[in-house]
Amino acid sequence: MREITRYNYEEFFLDYLEGTLSSLQIVALEDFLTKNPDLKLELEEMECPVFTKDCVKIDLKSLKEIPFRESFDEFCIARLEGDLSVENEIAFDTFLEKNKSFHNENQIYQKTILHADNSLVFTDKEKLKRSSRKVVYWRYSSRVGVAASIVLLFSLWSILYQFEGNQSNEEKITAKVETAITESKETNKTEKAIDVEAIATPKQEIVKPEKKYSVEKGQAQTTDSQEDEKQVENIEKVFKRVEPVVLSADAELIALANSADPKIELDIPKEENTEISTQNNGLAQLGMSWKSSVPEKKAQNSVLYAIAKYGVDKLGEIAGKNVQLEKKYDSATEKTRLDFNTAGIGFSKTIK
């Protein structure tokens, strides 16, 4: 038999009240109550009276009566709004007939119903009416218009691209080196300025055509004296100052004909090659030259792209449609694509 404690006494109390405890358990419970007199009161409170049918006397008549007096306003409004059931409506009307004061008050509620003044009319109805579906036609035509605009923009873009493509893709090394030198000058003013322009431009005087330097070897292949050696050091300094990040990000080094590796095929027209070799004499003598992979037209293309995107966005806004023009770079194919998407129309173009 389980011991009765202060933690489980409730279930014993309930069993005791229902008369399901055994005689031994009753003795144990009485003993527990003697030891815990404060719980005796709780047991007494748990003793619920048992109702018998005779005890309950309900006034059925009063239950049937609807509390019209107590909730008169609610019933008046509900009657007015048609929220009462048919039975309740009849009962409420009967109640009103019997009680004159309530009837008068209900009359006031009846007066709160608002009636529209039909003399008030909107006089400019004809102005509101439409004779044709301009909006709809415009919407259809706008889609075609958007598509046509995009095609035009692409055409313009391509023409400009080709036009610019005829010009040299290669930037003069002088410009790049000049920039780098200027930057290096700015960063370190104490450092002695180097006449890079003289080195890089064809009109250079310090580096003579017959003198060849090998940067890779790090040695000056010259027969001249210490002055020439100093020049080699200066050139090396210049290359050190030209940040590799800038070169790798913005430029692509291409070996020229006078480079160490003759197998490298140059994708440069001969005329241009000549021009570079003459203009980039300094680097050419070092056996190097470079062709910009970020020609000036790229910046112009960005401007064109921005204009095109703006135009497309505006057209989409006017048409009330989602029109997208996106430039995406695909690392797998190493190609940049322009995507145009709108409802029903979508095409893509690869950019060189």
């Binding site: 709004e81 006031i108 709160t112 003044d117 909107f122 709809v136």
Partner: protein, 161 residues
């Protein structure tokens, strides 16, 4: 919804909308503008609006435009803050409609809108709830309060007269 249905909706609902807005804001020009705006919006969305629901669309648009206008002008006046005894009775009412018109002015904008939609247009609680962005229970409560205020106002005027 097609062009003909649109033009029919102008004939059917322009007057009612105008009355509804005019009773709310009591400014004929602005009421006219709101009605025009609502039909303009309907025309812009004419392809997407079901002709069976055009009335609800128009009233919803007009109601929200009106509420925006009221809020902009801060012409909010809550009836609950007005003491019935302070009403000016110097006016001589010729009939009940004038008393009601005056009482209507003193309702809050929401109470006024819901009771006008209920009485003028015969909208159900559910439809009013949709138009006014309220719950059905809120609509019931607003209508109940509006009726109480109108009844009290009419009662107080009648007792004085």
């Amino acid at each position: 919804m097609n062009l003909d249905e649109y033009n029919i909706s102008v004939d059917q609902h322009a007057d009612g909308m105008f009355r509804f807005i005019l009773k709310n804001i009591r400014d004929e020009d602005k009421a006219r503008d709101i009605v025009q705006d609502s039909f303009e919006k309907l025309w812009r969305n004419v392809e997407n609006v079901n002709s069976l629901k055009v009335k609800s669309y128009l009233y919803t648009t007009a109601y929200h435009t009106m509420i925006d206008l009221i809020r902009r002008e801060k012409r909010k006046e809550d009836f609950e803050n007005v003491d019935v005894r302070d009403y000016s009775h110097s006016e001589h009412y010729s009939d009940l409609s004038e008393i009601l018109d005056d009482a209507l002015k003193r309702l809050s904008e929401v109470q006024r809108s819901v009771i006008l939609l209920r009485d003028y247009e015969g909208y159900s609680y559910t439809e009013i709830a949709k138009i006014t962005d309220l719950t059905e229970s809120q609509v019931k409560v607003y209508i109940y309060r509006a009726r109480m205020h109108l009844k009290n106002y009419i009662g107080s005027i009648e007792s004085i007269v």
